[in-house]
């Protein structure tokens, strides 16, 4: 087990390093590093000074080492637009995005799992077909389109929910979150729903497929042959087997939730990291872009590692084989 973790850890660090090299090369070798680190309106004298102080006249590999060194100290440059350290900007906005992503994930699970279960148990019925068509809609409709429709229906037409911004925050277990206030919840619902629809469809389909695959298996028949109640057969024997892969997939998809938050945050003007990166790209605020990419990739890699470990803990076959 420990060997497994160490191996995955080394792999993750490798991926991180590789990505940092890629980003670095992409930005510094292909792109124009001066443009990255110095605002567009600098005078030639300022540029020359920047080149000197930033060490841009040094060989590439030395620059890379400096870059990594700075990064490990938490210095990822200063934003042109906000004139703050990039990392500070990102960390300020990260909680909003994480909140959104987390609520979206929960929504996807609490709607997707039961829906998929019912669809799988009644395969071929009207209900099943409706759920399946609905799920195709869920993942083939572009994310932003779903958001627009939600705004159109619930904000413009029905006027029930606000279409932009984050509501009031409250304190729960020492964390500032929208979940604590009614106003916060009202503002949170539409964007979280928007973000979760894709995952909801995914979870529904996965659950349904899992149920259909598992139901004809021998151990389900055997469970019935033992005279167990149908409820126990479904919820203990079938569900436990399909939950493992579903949870793994969903866990890995959490990272993509954070990425897709860029779209949701743009539509709903949600003050998170996603909106920040889009604004930064359009305003060419490159230090922030670089910082965002590195942080997000790092988060991803860590996330994948954690999910891998959890999976091996959940599935006794994997765990005991590795032991």
């Amino acid at each position: 087990m420990i060997a497994f973790i160490i191996r995955r850890l080394i792999q993750s660090i490798g991926v991180l390093l590789l990505t940092s090299v890629l980003v670095f090369c992409g930005v510094f070798a292909i792109g124009d590093p001066i443009a990255i680190l110095v605002p567009a309106d600098a005078t030639p004298a300022e540029i020359a000074q920047a080149v000197q102080s930033l060490g841009l006249d040094q060989p590439l590999w030395q620059q890379y080492v400096h870059f990594i060194g700075h990064a490990l100290h938490g210095d990822l440059g200063r934003s042109f637009v906000f004139n703050q350290p990039s990392i500070q900007l990102i960390l300020e906005r990260l909680p909003a995005t994480l909140e959104l992503a987390f609520v979206a994930l929960v929504l996807a699970l609490i709607v997707g799992l039961p829906l998929g279960l019912i669809a799988g148990l009644k395969a071929g019925s009207m209900l099943d077909r409706t759920v399946m068509t609905g799920s195709i809609l869920g993942f083939s409709l572009p994310n932003f389109w779903q958001g627009i429709m939600l705004v159109l229906i619930f904000s413009v037409t029905l006027g029930w929910l606000p279409s932009a911004g984050r509501g009031q925050l409250g304190l729960v277990f020492g964390i500032h979150t929208s979940l604590a206030t009614w106003d916060g919840l009202r503002h949170l619902l539409l964007p979280a729903l928007n973000l979760s629809l894709f995952k909801m469809s995914l979870v529904t389909r996965l659950t349904r497929a899992g149920v259909r695959e598992t139901l004809p298996l021998d151990y389900v028949k055997f469970a019935r042959a033992k005279g167990l109640r149908e409820r126990r057969v479904i919820f203990v024997h079938v569900l436990k087997n399909i939950l493992i892969p579903i949870v793994t997939v969903v866990g890995m998809e959490f990272g993509s939730l954070i990425a897709f938050a860029t779209v949701t945050e743009t539509i709903f003007a949600w003050p998170g990291v996603g909106k920040l990166i889009i604004d930064s790209i359009t305003k060419l605020d490159r230090p922030v872009i670089v910082a965002y990419l590195l942080i997000v990739v790092a988060m991803f890699t860590v996330l994948n590692l954690v999910v891998d470990i959890i999976y091996s803990l959940l599935d006794p076959r994997v765990r005991l084989e590795a032991a």
Binding site: V15, L18, V23, G26, V27, I30, G31, I136, L137, S140, L141, P142, N143, F144, W145, I148, M149, V151, L152, S155, V156, S163, G255, S256, A259, F260, T262, V263, T266, I267, I277, I278, I281, T282, R286, I289, L293, V296, V297, F300, N304
Partner: protein, 304 residues
Amino acid sequence: MRATATFPSWRFVDRNSTLGIVLRSLFGKPAVAVATCICLALVVIALFAPWIAPQNPYDLAALNIVDGRLPPGARGASGHLYLLGSDALGRDMFAAMMYGLRISLGVGLLSGAFAMTLGTTLGLVAAYFGRYVDTLVMRAVDLMLGFPTILVALMMLAILGQGVDKVVLALVVVQWAYFARTVRAIAAVERRKEYMEAALCLGLSHRRALFSQLLPNCLPPVIVIALVQIAAAISAEATLSFLGIGLPVTQPSLGLLIANGYQQLIAGFYWISVFPGLLLLVLVFSMNIVGDSLREALNPRLQK
């Protein structure tokens, strides 16, 4: 062994039945048949847009700003019928949508085609040469697939800047991995089959063996993936354009139209955003249904 053994000509028999399966799956079920017809119709419209659109929405001289924000079905100052309304600048939405469809479909097909070529070639090469090449390519694939498409696209566009070619490039980088992975899996199986051994015994060069023997047998699943990937590419490009980091304003795809209309939406002029959105929806949805149906039909495991 007869040296005159003709190469897998028996594969032609197989392909015929594959074609049969494909046609049956596309036109057998009513829902799928409708989706297929819609896809074909949209492709035709996109191809012939400049000739069949009622107005050229990008010819500034033809626009009349007085006709701006007219609801669907209204007549403009010049008597022109705005079937689906007009946008803030007086552009006929119907026409704008046709041109937008053309661009969206064009970018999607282009990036899909490149991704397919790149991915398929890499997948074939990985399966054919095995060992180090295989490991290298598959690690790259795993890496690519570990990140969500939008993140990779963001990364590419942030680094390279904006423009049609950059968008296509970003989409290709995002998509090649899907092709490579599937092709490699199939090719790895086909690679071990006897006709490949025969090809090598007869001294075919690697290139010929790869492309004239291995490739045709890996094609059906590739076609299926291509369809779904093109839909995904169209969707992705629309998202990027909507966010403002995709295609430039001079090449307005459906995504950009939707973005432009979004602000008008809150003010109640819904048609500027909703209709292009519906068109995008119909396009992507139909392609997904067709792709889904094809995939089920061509999946050997589900074939009884």
